[in-house]
Symmetry: C2
Subunit: 350 residues, 2 copies
């Protein structure tokens, strides 16, 4: 690793959920993908965009989708940034907004990418344990005196939700920058995006990966004060969102009917999943997302993960402190949920 | 700019070529896009990929396209990285391979993104003037004692080409990391990619934006020693290349017949453009790319750019030291070249 710099050498690697080569042989409930396909309107818009005009660069400012997203959220285009997935947005936040001697804080357990990015940027960070019931206590973050706080809301992997008034109360005291990762907010609502009109130190991120069934397309949004958005625009690669992603995002944002129907189906399936698992004696953390965080007294989570994998069912197991007790299971189709529950019945012996 | 860090505040902004809103009313010869559309095979592969599977994340390792690109270039998959355009690859190189107290050197004039990225990463850089005829003299870079050298070959905006044996001779003495940006190499060949098998300190970058007519899709490749590629893989965002970009890239790389035909047409059109402009008294720097770097004694370049813009023809004008004498013109279709030349005849009065 002769040419790696110190940061690259010292950072831990972020490991995304398994994507097996023979993916179609698996029931894949490990990366919170939406079980239903994107709408026909989105697929048609994408196909129409597969044209000679791909020889041209995309709009570097992504003006059209920023306008649509802004108007749907009561904001101005200048408050909105479009990224190559919300992961790119987090990367840019670390690159542009925190001094090298700054400090960050993240909840634990939460999305491990935040700490990976802090390490890759040479920024010190601390983690703040969620309460015993996995709820947020924002007061703990205030005590950390840091420059950047990122929370995931609803939190990944626990599904727990922090109410907007708690976030507002935090922002009234906090002097640093708060990022609220709302990748999963669409499933049950309660977005903090309106706080962008009240505070100049909050960024809300969104993703089309989950609620719009477009994980393959890589589109995320950030909403924030105009100066923050200008900063992201200045530091991003020129053409960070490609032409097809822009076309698909536009169609997805405009097709509210399909979006609402999809959300409704995911919620129904989640209820069925929760009821089935409760009846088997699973302990389920209350979730406002398209996944649940669960454990069962009869079977350690690692064993459960491995036994399900043998049956070609993938769920997400996290190793390490405070993580290994639980597994995270994404909401699938009814057929997938039924297969999962049949397998689990054998494993937990109920 | 209260929340911007020092790097973001101090960096200059990279300004991509104009993308007018009423783009279809312009003859656009300012950003080196290919004048011909992607092949039918590529468009079909893209349309086929606009399917329900977009609800899934893309392959985070981009294995399939890396294998194809590797085998077409006599390399192993482990020597290849796929990026969201080669711009992303340059960004990652600055993030992962250079210490903060390191130094970089780039040719001048060249692609201004290199210095923008150095500024954004807090890395000091110097520029090395090309010779008076815009040729490279790699010896000048050796004297700079720097950790990173990036050259663009053929060079953007001059079109000048540095032979592989000169690059090899440089690498035999250079202890830092050399990046050879080959975004335009496909038009006339002469790639240095084989040097990856000889040296562990060279990265060759490629792009599908120009020679494959896919600027809208954002796909670039890096070839290098396995350890360098591992470093890029470690620091990149998990899913940096989207599913449609992967599908389009695969089809584009495999459709060699259309690729060769496209290259042939661009070369023919370039010859015609050069002959027409020479006959009007333009001075043309010898170019191995799909653009030419020109000036004319009768009309300052800025005036030429503005007068053409009035006629809805966009060429690229660069301001600043050593830049303002020349303009860069991308090779267009025959119709576009004829319109350009008619307009230029009036402007330069021949």
């Amino acid at each position: 690793m002769k040419y790696w710099n110190t940061l690259l050498k010292n950072m831990s690697e972020y490991i995304p959920g398994e994507q097996p080569v023979d993916i179609n042989e698996y029931i894949k409930l490990n990366t919170n993908e939406n079980p239903f396909p994107p709408s026909e309107a989105v697929l048609k818009a994408l196909r129409d965009a597969c044209a000679g005009s791909l020889r041209r660069y995309p709009d570097p400012l992504a003006n059209e989708v920023r306008e649509i997203f802004a108007s749907q959220n009561g904001l101005n285009k200048y408050n909105i940034f479009a990224g190559n997935g919300s992961d790119e947005i987090f990367t840019l936040i670390f690159r542009g907004f925190i001094e090298k001697n700054g400090a960050a804080a993240f909840p634990f357990p939460s999305y491990p990418l935040y700490s990976t990015l802090a390490e890759g940027s040479g920024i010190k960070y601390e983690t703040v344990d969620l309460e015993n019931n996995f709820e947020y206590n924002m007061d703990h973050f205030l005590k950390k005196k840091c420059d950047l706080v990122i929370i995931s809301n609803p939190n990944n992997p626990t599904g727990t939700y922090c109410a907007v008034n708690k976030i507002r109360a935090f922002l009234e005291k906090f002097k640093g920058l708060l990022v609220v990762d709302e990748a999963y907010i669409d499933f049950y609502g309660g977005s903090a995006i309106g706080l962008v009109n009240e505070f100049d130190n909050v960024i809300i991120t969104r993703s089309l990966s989950k609620s719009y069934s477009l994980a393959g397309l890589r589109v995320g949004f950030a909403a924030g004060d105009r100066e923050l958005i200008n900063g992201l625009m200045k530091i991003k690669d020129s053409y960070n969102v490609d032409s097809l992603a822009l076309a698909g995002a536009k169609a997805a944002l405009l097709d509210k009917k399909s979006f609402n129907y999809n959300i409704e189906m995911v919620r129904n399936n989640k209820e069925y999943l929760e009821e089935s698992m409760e009846s088997m004696g699973f302990e389920i953390v209350p979730s406002k997302a398209n996944f649940i965080y669960v454990r069962h007294g009869n079977c350690p989570s690692k064993e459960m993960y491995e036994k399900l994998k043998d049956k070609k069912i993938l769920i997400r197991y996290f190793s390490g402190r405070g993580r290994s007790e639980y597994t995270r299971i994404s909401v699938g189709t009814m057929l997938e949920i039924k297969s999962l529950c049949s397998a689990l019945q054998v494993i937990v012996g109920t």
